[in-house]
Amino acid sequence: MATSKSHGVGGIAFDMPKRHWPNEMNVLIALILIVGIFEVLGHLMMGQSFLFDTSGRSGSIFNEQRLRIIILQVSIVGIIAIGVTQVIISGGIDLSSGSVAGAAAMIAMSFAQVAEVNGNANPTLALAPWATDLPVIVPLVIGILCGLLAGMINGALIAYTGIPPFIATLGMMVTARGVAKWWTEGRPISFPTDGYRVFGDGLMPVFIFAALAILFHLVLRHTVYGKHTYAIGSNEDAARMSGIKIGRHKVLVYTIAGILAGIAAIVLSSKNLTAQAGMGMMYELDAIAMAVIGGVSLSGGRGSIIGTVLGALIFGVIISGFTFLRLDAYYQEMVKGGIIVAAVVLDQWRQRRAALGP
């Protein structure tokens, strides 16, 4: 990870992190600091440890339940954040992911319903009786296809009409939310099949998040796809001159982000055993914030999946920490906002210093 080499593409070198001290280390230190603050405050305010098991309930040195929830509660937005991270690295932005997840959840869930609940017909039936008790592969594929389609439209708009990513994905954000509401005219869709319940059951969201994070870490670091993504984000003109097919690559980047939103939709609706038109609201902003806190530069070309995962963990620690201290949600939002701004300020400062340095 601590790469200090430059990659050459078609003879043109572009910027990979050149420091020996990787950016992710700073995020990790921030995470440890925040955990430390909660640990200290826990002892002062609650007479309890934040991370460690002082009651001997679980028979382990850590409070395992808390460790689990810290990760579990950010896993679904985390899946979206993986897609958003590679979009931002490519120099773009994706504002549509939360709405796309909402729409995909509604559509997928309507193919995942059971016919009967407690001996009566499913009271939230979205489509028709033929669409009940289907094999789990049907909603799974449909959910992913919804995300894929939305992402592909985003990418095509950005690559071939030249409108800025902000506008294209803003349009998709509004459109997809409209689709989510229109699908059942706002009614919730509940009571999924046993097969569909698997994706959100227990720690499954964490496993899916972790697997996708590892996969995309490898993809971004070690494949041509990843190298081209960094290249386009660093300097689009240089990348074009070096022979990268910018348009096609951008469509791919946004399509993958869409697929990840589709996967998040399936996990989200499965975990909650329901799909609702308002689902995934503001997830796009949380996802972007996780990436930014994790050191992904909004100007493109820099950042990593590891950083985003750490950013997500910081989110999780803050949510759990505030509940642990029994502090009101108001403070939580204020602190979250402050951390996002601080992360960007820090990033700017580091960039300036790097530019001035030898």
């Binding site: 929830i69 407690n118 706002g186 009614r187 919730p188 038109a277 509940t323 029994r326």
Partner: protein, 314 residues
């Protein structure tokens, strides 16, 4: 009373069968389960009436957008307007706009801040929010006493803190505690918001469970959060026999959870009834008749004993 209004309207309708009534409806937001039932209640009712057409718009939780919609309704010459306010403190301007244009206005579900100073051709149809939290809390008290848990330790899950129903229902819990109407002593361990959302409630409950604190009951401001909490407790292998969980709304999901023995009490707010009442009031006002300015549709407690009556209502 309702029958009387209905009768009057039917009579009025028959006498003016040729005259079509256009009602503009501005809903706070479409993607809310409860408001969707309310909206469908209005639509279904309007379909049964001859010559009444509804034009329903979505204010998307935006106060400014809602005022624009009302002004657009006025400009297009509707006979009456029904508003489900985005923000209950932003109704002053809506009342003025409709009043100066002479168009009748009916607020539905959320109590406008100027409810006591509404002009004659405006009205308010809703349920008395105070009933919901009170009914819910009293039932929890009764169940706790039945189990012999005194004092009882409870968690409170609140809706969005900027929302009046959340504030009110939480206040109801404390009022019941203070008034001595609770048979057992309630000790609040913690009260937090989960923003009406099942997903956030799952996480909040899991966070609570990670503190290892023992508790006897959860009082939630709505059913979605109660269900989220139940899912989290089940995932942590907590016996639902031991914990009392109560919500508000009586949604289909909540009724299923009650049948499964997980949810102990919920409160039915007659959304469709409110929608119907609002359309009724709007039609009467459009004809220049007078209506009661505050029409209250009662809340009803739902327990495993009477669940059968509610399964087809929401």
């Amino acid at each position: 009373m309702k029958k009387l209004i209905l009768g009057a309207i039917t009579a009025a309708l028959m006498s003016t069968a040729a005259h079509a009534e256009n009602i503009g409806v501005s809903m706070a937001l479409f993607d809310d389960n409860f408001l969707t039932v309310l909206r469908n209640g209005m639509n279904d009712y309007a379909k049964t009436l001859d010559g009444v057409s509804l034009q329903v718009e979505d204010a998307q939780n935006d106060v400014a957008k809602q005022l624009d919609q009302i002004n657009n309704f006025i400009a297009s010459g509707v006979d009456a307007i029904v508003v489900n306010p985005v923000d209950t403190s932003a109704t002053e301007a809506m009342t003025k706009a409709a009043e100066s244009a002479g168009v009748p206005l009916v607020y539905v579900n959320r109590q406008p801040i100027n409810v006591d100073t509404l002009p004659d051709n405006q009205a308010f149809v809703a349920s008395n929010e105070q009933e919901s939290g009170t009914l819910e809390t009293k039932e929890v008290c009764r169940l706790l006493e039945e189990k012999g848990k005194n004092p009882a330790r409870i968690y409170i899950m609140m809706g969005e803190l900027s929302n009046q129903a959340a504030v009110m229902r939480t206040q109801d819990i404390k009022d019941v505690m203070k008034s001595g109407e609770c048979q057992v002593e309630l000790q609040i361990i913690d009260e937090q918001t989960a923003n009406w959302s099942r997903d956030e409630a799952q996480d909040l409950m899991t966070n609570w469970l990670s503190t290892g604190e023992k508790f006897d009951a959860l009082i939630s401001n709505n059913d979605e959060m109660a269900i989220g909490a139940i899912q989290a407790m089940k995932a942590a292998n907590i016996s639902m026999e031991e914990v009392i969980v109560a919500g508000v709304d009586a949604t289909q999901d909540a009724l299923a959870a009650m049948e499964a023995g997980d949810l102990d009490a919920t409160v039915f707010q007659d959304a469709a009834g409110q929608g119907k009442g609002a359309v009724d009031a709007a039609l009467k006002l459009a004809k220049g008749e007078s209506v009661e300015q505050k029409v209250y549709i009662p809340f009803q407690l739902v327990t495993p004993a009477n669940i059968g009556d509610y399964k087809s209502k929401n």
